[in-house]
Amino acid sequence: MKEDAAHRTSCPDEIRVLAFTSSGVKIGIDTDQIARLTGIEEAEGRDWKPFSLPGRPALRGVSSPDPAAKVLLARGEGPPIALAIDRLDEIFSVPVDDLRPLPHLITSSSAFHAVWGAVIRNGEIILLVDIYKLSAGRPPAGAEPAA
């Protein structure tokens, strides 16, 4: 009972979502996970090695980033986590009750667990991504890619 009560109090009533587009896919990240937005030049200049979303459809590789692309820098200590995006769309608040878990077929068949839910915004589906889970498994900043 105490755990239930603690869980309820730890769950916010709403979250703020930073929505962006990456190769046509609309993605959202909880703004609590984001430190700031910067340009691709700064990210590369500081050797943050920004990465992009894996999986289908083929998303833009960071090997040839669009100079207009932006980079989301995750909040937190340790090696920087920098996610390359095509463009920032908007930031909005959404009640937790309006968040939707992904269908069972998606969660059970996806090898990619960084997408944790979705929200419908103006009729469009925005996939919610956990940037920390997204970065898990990628080479740490500064490491050379495997040959």
Binding site: L53, P57, L102, P103, E124, L127
Partner: protein, 173 residues
């Protein structure tokens, strides 16, 4: 002593009516029907039991989900709920289909799983006598046979009845 012509007439009529009703019941049992949704995939006709199909939707925007297999093109906004969409071509040994305005999303539910199924077009929704469904032919490819519940003739065309539960189980396992 002969009985009058009208003697026991009502009893004979009632007996005849009971026999006719019993025969009709026999016929009804033989004619037990099931609803099927018949659809095209790459020019072949397939069917799913109507009891597994919750609704049939026009082709809507399918939002891809990173990291999902090729047979899951993504998710759709189904009146405020998010449903997955799968293509079953690969399970039937067929290449993927091109999307066109005739495509439909049949929302199916079975084995505790709910998902849209992308089909090339819906040919018919009809009732068929259960007895017309025959076991799948032995010549059917083993990979396809795994997901086939039977076959039946409809308007002189052979139609393969699928077991969507087995396909869903395969996907989530």
């Amino acid at each position: 002593m002969d009985e009058p012509a009208g003697s026991n007439k009502s009893d004979r009529i009632l007996e005849e009516l009971r026999m006719r009703q019993a025969q009709k019941a026999d016929v009804d049992v033989e004619e037990k029907k099931m609803k099927v949704v018949i659809f095209f995939l790459r020019g072949d006709l397939f069917a799913l039991p109507g009891e597994n199909i919750k609704e049939i939707l026009p082709l809507a925007t399918i939002y891809p989900v990173p990291g999902t297999p090729v047979y899951i093109p993504g998710v759709i906004n189904n009146r405020g709920e998010i449903d997955s969409v799968v293509t079953i071509n690969g399970f039937l040994g067929l290449p993927e289909s091109e999307r066109s305005p005739s495509c439909r999303i049949a929302v199916a539910e079975r084995e505790g799983v709910r998902s849209g199924i992308l089909v090339d077009s819906v040919a018919d929704v009809t009732d068929i006598p259960v007895t017309t469904v025959k076991p799948p032919l032995n010549t059917l490819a083993k990979s396809r046979k795994e997901f086939v519940a039977g076959e039946f003739l409809h308007q002189n065309k052979n139609i393969i009845l699928l077991d969507i539960g087995k396909i869903f189980t395969k996907i989530v396992s």
